[in-house]
Point group: C2
Chain length 143, copies 2
C-alpha cells in the first residue's frame, strides 16, 4: 500500500480483481447531461426515446464509463493512480434503475514503468454493457 | 439530415470536422464526482493535490471525455447517433477554469453499415489533453 491507501505496482499481479456495484438513477443522467453538455434526446426525452430502437431513455455511455474511473481510482490500484488511457466498447444500453457492476481485473503489469493494463467490464444483471481496457500508472514501493 | 436534426451517413465524408468549447468549472468536478463515485482526492482535496505531481486539483479524465460524447451527440453526426466505442489517451491534466475545445473529425465511413470512425481530440489553450477515436452508427437517408 502507498501512503494514500492505494496499491503500489509491486502489490498487484495479473488476475487480481475487484468489483463494485452502483444503481444508475434518473438524477445521475440529468446531472451528467449538465456536466457533459450531452443533451441528446435519447437521454432526456422519454416520448422521443420511446420511438427509437432503445424503446425509452438510456444513460449516457460515458456516465456508465465513469464507474470504471471510480473503481480504478477508489479501489484498484486506488488512490495515487494516474489514468493514462481507456478503451470502451458500448455493448448494450443502461437505463435508470439498472445496477451496474464494474469489475476491474489486472491483465499485466510493467513494474519498471509503474504501469498496469486492466480489463474493465461493466455488467447489468450479468449482461455486459461496456467492455474495454484501462492503462494506468501507480506508485512504487521502491520510489 | 435525419428527422431529428443529425447527419445521415450519406451526408458525412472524411475530413468533415466540428469543434465546440466549454469551460470546466469546479461545480462540474464536484458533480462528476457525485455521479461517477470517483472521489479520488486529486480531484477533491486541494491540500493533498498540491503534494502530487499535478500541483493542485485536476478534473476527472472521464469528465473531459464527456465533452466528446456531447459534441458527437449534439453536432457530428448529431441526434440519431448510436455510440459504439471510444478510445481515450489522457495526455495532460485539465483544471477548473480551463476551456476545453473538443474537435471531432470524420476519418472514414462505412455507409453500408451506417458506421463512421471519428478522430476525437480535446485541447486546452492549443495543447492536447485527450486524443482518441470514436466509432458510431448513424442514420441512413436510404432507410
Amino acid at each position: 500500500m502507498n501512503s494514500v491507501g492505494g496499491y503500489d505496482i509491486e502489490d498487484i499481479k495479473p488476475g487480481l480483481s475487484v468489483s463494485a456495484g452502483r444503481t444508475i438513477s434518473e438524477a445521475d443522467i440529468v446531472m451528467f447531461a449538465g456536466v457533459s453538455g450531452d443533451v441528446n434526446a435519447v437521454h432526456l426525452n422519454e416520448e422521443y426515446a420511446k420511438t427509437t430502437a432503445f424503446g425509452g431513455r438510456i444513460a449516457h455511455g460515458m456516465l456508465t464509463a465513469g464507474h470504471i474511473s471510480a473503481v480504478i481510482a477508489n479501489k484498484l490500484p486506488g488512490p495515487g493512480t494516474i489514468y493514462l488511457g481507456q478503451t470502451l466498447r458500448f455493448k448494450a444500453p443502461v437505463r435508470a434503475g439498472d445496477t451496474v457492476v464494474t469489475t476491474i481485473t489486472v491483465r499485466e503489469t510493467v513494474p519498471e514503468k509503474r504501469r498496469a493494463i486492466l480489463d474493465t467490464v461493466c455488467t447489468v444483471a450479468g449482461k455486459v454493457v461496456i467492455e474495454g481496457e484501462a492503462t494506468v500508472m501507480t506508485t512504487s514501493s521502491k520510489a
